[in-house]
Amino acid sequence: MKASAYLAIALRGLLRNRRRAGVTLAAIAFGFAAIALFAGYTHNIYRGLSLQAIHGELLGHLTLSKRGMSREGKLAPERYLLSADDISRIRALVAANPHVKLVTLRLALSGIVSNGRASTIFVAEGVEPEAARGLQDGLRDAMDLGAAPTGGVRNLDTEKPDHVTLAAGLAGLLHLKPEDSAVILSNTLGGQANALDIRIADVFNTGNAATNDLYAYMPLQLVRSLYDAEGRADRLTILLDDVAATESVRADLMRELAAAGFDLEIRTWNELSTFYTQVRGMFDMIFGFIFSIVLTVVLMSVANSMGMAVVERTREIGTLRAIGLRRAGVVRLFVGEAALLVLLGCAVGLLLTLGVRYGINVADIAYVPPNQTEPVPLLVDLDAARIAFTALMMAVVAAFAAWMPARRAARQPIIDALGHV
């Protein structure tokens, strides 16, 4: 029998008991919509967090450093800083990759900042102001915002190397505001204490409670001066034209840099962003949990629906077998019916998803996530990949749920099926 004939009969089969088919279809549709909406929500969260990590936190897509710098760099900074000559050669090699949009230098620093009366520790990033601004502007462009929300490097200026920006919490601890003066203290590479006067160029919000009373951005010259490390940096931050190219560019650059004699490591933005990785891990687990529950509900609903249909139609199965339908044909008939049920359920679920998604997105709902300082909008994307995966998995589960009773019915003797009451 041709597939179109199976489908035509399967559709009629569904319409036999409309209430039962309707209940099963509703279970599939609501389950599908629940998964699709949650997937869309997490997709939006992942997108926001990845943009925040790549642009907001200035991680770029790739971070290049000497091998071991991430583990041992703070203990022996001298050993892990790149020389001016290495930087020049590496920069040229990296910039030649067609996916690379921007390469900029970074130099991390930690120390003590004082307002003359009180002092506290800080963690700072020395950046090239113009390049860092270009990196941060990506967030504004990607999220269609009027200005980059964190603004950490917005008011840094190469021409004003003593101007730094402080995270709002850190500035608050020391009662510092823009144009105030302060002193920072750290060690040079040689281990000597070194202090420099600074001026507050701006106060910004990191958006993260853990870093908001700790973080600062400084021009690279200031950090180099404090370290007494002219021309040097500990990392190169690389911005690509497409996040999807991250892994392939890393592999290409690793190969090319190794061939040029460098022993370097390149880490991706998601490897560096612990927050992103943890949030994603948690949401993926919740998604898996919801997905499993919904699939179980679909399995039970379809198994119940198809099981009853098979029992009710046992005599019909016997008739079809008598007039020439193979056992596999009987199975195909019921599996096709279940697949059709899932297809219709997913279609209704998709419409439901689109409607609820629209409602949520226009409702302008905002909330403050854990460990955050600012409210974020509740938005739901359409995660096409996970929607397709969900539909596929539901079809597989439904086919399995129909296959079991259909196979049992197809294998029973024809005379028993014909005699079924």
């Binding site: 089969g13 077998r321 007039i323 193979r326």
Partner: protein, 233 residues
């Protein structure tokens, strides 16, 4: 008993036993039978005589406990389930006591179903089904679902379905049991008419001795054995 080396269907010492708990019931106790192409044969006998079991053997929808079933000289017991199903679909038609039409399909679709199972294109299958319904006098009921048809009309649809694949033989187990006497007469007349028009072998069972008047051959079954085999034509 007519015998021939070129029988359409031959049963040789067929026995069929059923296990009902601890009890073993022998529904057929060594039946041998030859059926020739084009015969119009009635199997009759009291309830429990083994008529339906014999029809199941003739229709190749049940396997004997022992004995051999040959169709056109070939031992059908050697066929796989799929091969036997295909064979049955092409060469045997069925008419059931309760009509056994698919309730969600129209009369036309029910008649076309055996062809569609065989993979015949839908348009061609429906065209042949339409001709089949015309032949049984139901041309105006093509789009009607079985639940809107009378018992007699349903059985005519079933006869059209049984003949659509141009089988060699039609097995009709108690085709008139659910019909009044007029419709019973009409159904047997229709089967006879199809037998003569197409040369298709018809084997049917009945309780009603009045329906045996126009058959070629009458087989009386009692206690799972053939008590008499009478050629009347």
């Amino acid at each position: 008993m007519p015998t021939s080396a070129s029988s359409l269907l031959r049963l040789t010492d067929i026995r069929r036993r059923f296990h009902l708990g601890e009890t073993v019931v022998e529904a057929l106790g060594g039946v041998s039978l030859d059926i020739q192409a084009g015969e119009f044969l009635a199997v009759w006998g009291p309830s429990g005589s083994g008529k339906s079991t014999l029809m199941n053997m003739l229709g190749l929808i049940d396997q004997p406990t022992s004995g051999m079933v040959q169709f056109d000289g070939a031992d059908v017991g050697a066929l796989s389930d799929d091969a036997l199903t295909d064979f049955r679909g092409r060469r045997i038609g069925f008419v059931f006591q309760s009509f056994n039409l698919v309730p969600v399909l129209s009369a036309l679709e029910n008649v076309a179903l055996p062809l569609q199972i065989q993979g015949v294109d839908k348009t061609a299958a429906l065209a042949r089904a339409r001709a089949g319904l015309e032949e049984v006098g139901l041309a105006e009921f093509t789009g009607t679902r079985p639940d809107r048809l009378s018992g007699g009309q349903r059985q005519r649809v079933a006869i059209a379905r049984a003949l659509i694949a141009r089988p060699d033989m039609v097995i009709a187990d108690e085709p008139t049991a659910n019909l009044d006497s007029d419709n019973s007469r009409m159904v047997v007349d229709l089967m006879r008419q199809m037998n003569q028009a197409h040369g298709v072998t018809f084997v049917f069972t009945t309780h009603d001795p009045r329906l045996l008047e126009h058959v070629d051959r009458k087989l009386l079954l009692r206690d799972g054995r053939i008590e008499s085999d009478e050629v009347t034509a």
